[in-house]
């Protein structure tokens, strides 16, 4: 392994295998826990089932960050952001099928 490879940064792939505790989730999104709770209650994100404590996978993290931006930038409320995300994700799935 050369010098460059040794110094290469290793990140975390934000997929279903990446698991975040609620504390980590808050820190990465830079928000407080009650806001995460609101996002869960409004159906923006879903926690992982049956883990004793509130945990989320990497895709939920991407969804939460996207929802936060939509709420901040477009003035949406949480149910509106959840709807926008559902529709965007459906659109993206259809586009990826259409592009095959």
């Amino acid at each position: 392994m050369n010098e460059r490879n040794k110094d290469a940064l290793r990140g975390v792939v934000l997929d279903a295998h990446a698991v975040f505790t609620v504390r980590e989730f808050c820190s990465v999104c830079d928000v407080d826990q009650p806001l995460i709770q609101t996002m869960v209650e409004e159906g923006v994100i879903e926690p992982l089932p049956d883990r004793g404590q509130l945990t989320f996978h990497g895709e939920a993290l991407l969804r939460a960050r996207r929802a936060l931006r939509l709420v901040d930038d477009l003035g949406l409320n949480w149910p509106g952001a959840a709807l926008a995300l559902d529709l965007l994700e459906r659109l993206e799935r259809l586009e990826s099928i259409a592009n095959r």
Binding site: R4, N5, D7, A8, L9, R10, G11, V12, V13, L14, D15, H17, V28, D30, G58, L61, L62, R65, R66, R69, L70, D73, L74, G75, A84, L88, S96, R100
Partner: protein
């Protein structure tokens, strides 16, 4: 430094009311928001709009900005007036202050980056600390890199604080590990590689790197599954033969069952992209003929035609 015409960016006249400005911003934001838009330059354009809106929606900032008058145009060489702070109360430098405009231009930073000064005036962000800007980037990798894992270099633009406490955008080159089995469209989070934290104890932002595949001449993908079209001869299709088929892991021997039609799909379990579980490779057979059939082959086909009792269109006959 280049002047920015914030009215032009939002597409409103200089006489626009606060309500007009808000409406114009919302309409443009729905069109160019990077989470919604398919426009190639959506992220950059949206940042510009956000910056313009942050100035024009704030009566104090708008009043200060309006001092420049209508003669200034976007892109004109600009130097901030020396008495700017005395005249408007806005500071040039931000002393590590406000946090929500790290993605904004040097033009903005110079005029408004330091917030307001003066007795009783609110200094944006002063004394507080907050997380630096998260940075989004994309990289296209060859499919082989996703199969084997790789280290890739990439250049990103990240805001940094200069000596005077102003944010400047600097190009930074990073070396990033692409993990084996990454799926097109997935994102890698690189902690602390975004913009600098604000104030004492402010953490750095993160870098979110979206990974896509470059188009591949041989393989297509669906998530972790790999698909290849494999050309075979009519004889191989009819008689069944073992042929060589490409996979990302190298060439493998593939048994074609006798009587295989074009379009038949064969599965090589676990030969797709690595993962838990790994993807499969699908081989779609495609019977091909040479452009010119020689006399010997023609004779044999004619014999076959006479001998064969097969009507592939039987089900179409009404």
């Amino acid at each position: 430094m280049k002047f920015r015409d914030y009215y032009e960016i939002l597409g409103v006249p200089r006489t626009a009311t606060a309500e007009d400005i808000k409406k114009a911003y919302r309409r443009l934001a729905r069109k160019y928001h990077p989470d919604v838009s398919k426009e190639a330059d959506a992220e950059a354009r949206f940042k510009e709009m956000k910056e313009a809106y942050s100035v024009l929606k704030d009566p104090e900032k708008r009043k200060a900005y309006d001092r420049f008058g209508a003669d200034w145009k976007t892109g004109q060489e600009f130097r901030p007036p020396p008495d700017w702070e005395r005249q408007t109360g806005f500071r040039h430098a931000n002393m590590g202050g406000a946090g929500d405009h790290q993605g904004f231009s040097d033009f903005f930073e110079t005029l408004f980056g330091g917030g307001r000064a003066g007795p009783g005036a609110f200094r944006e962000g002063f004394g507080g600390s907050s997380k630096g800007e998260d940075v989004n980037a994309r990289i296209a990798i060859p499919l082989e890199d996703a199969f084997h894992g790789a280290t890739r270099q990439l250049s990103i633009e990240v805001p940094e604080l200069d000596d005077q406490g102003r944010y400047r955008h600097r190009k930074r080159t990073l070396s990033v590990k692409i993990p084996k089995g990454i799926v097109a469209g997935q994102r890698i989070r690189l902690a602390d590689q975004g913009g600098p934290g604000i104030g004492a104890g402010g953490r750095s932002g993160d870098l979110y790197l979206q990974v896509d595949y470059e188009p591949h001449p041989v393989f297509e993908t669906q998530e972790r599954d790999v698909i290849v079209k494999l050309p075979i001869t009519p004889a191989e299709a009819a008689l069944g033969r073992t042929v060589q088929a490409p996979t990302l892991g190298g060439t493998v021997d593939l048994k074609i069952p006798p009587g295989s039609s074009s379009g038949k799909r064969l599965r090589l379990k676990g030969r797709g992209l690595p993962g838990n579980p790994p993807g499969d490779q699908y081989v779609d057979l495609k019977i091909v003929l040479p452009a010119r059939i020689d006399d010997k082959a023609r004779l044999l086909y004619e014999q076959l035609e006479k001998a064969e009792r097969f009507n592939p269109r039987a089900s179409l006959v009404t």
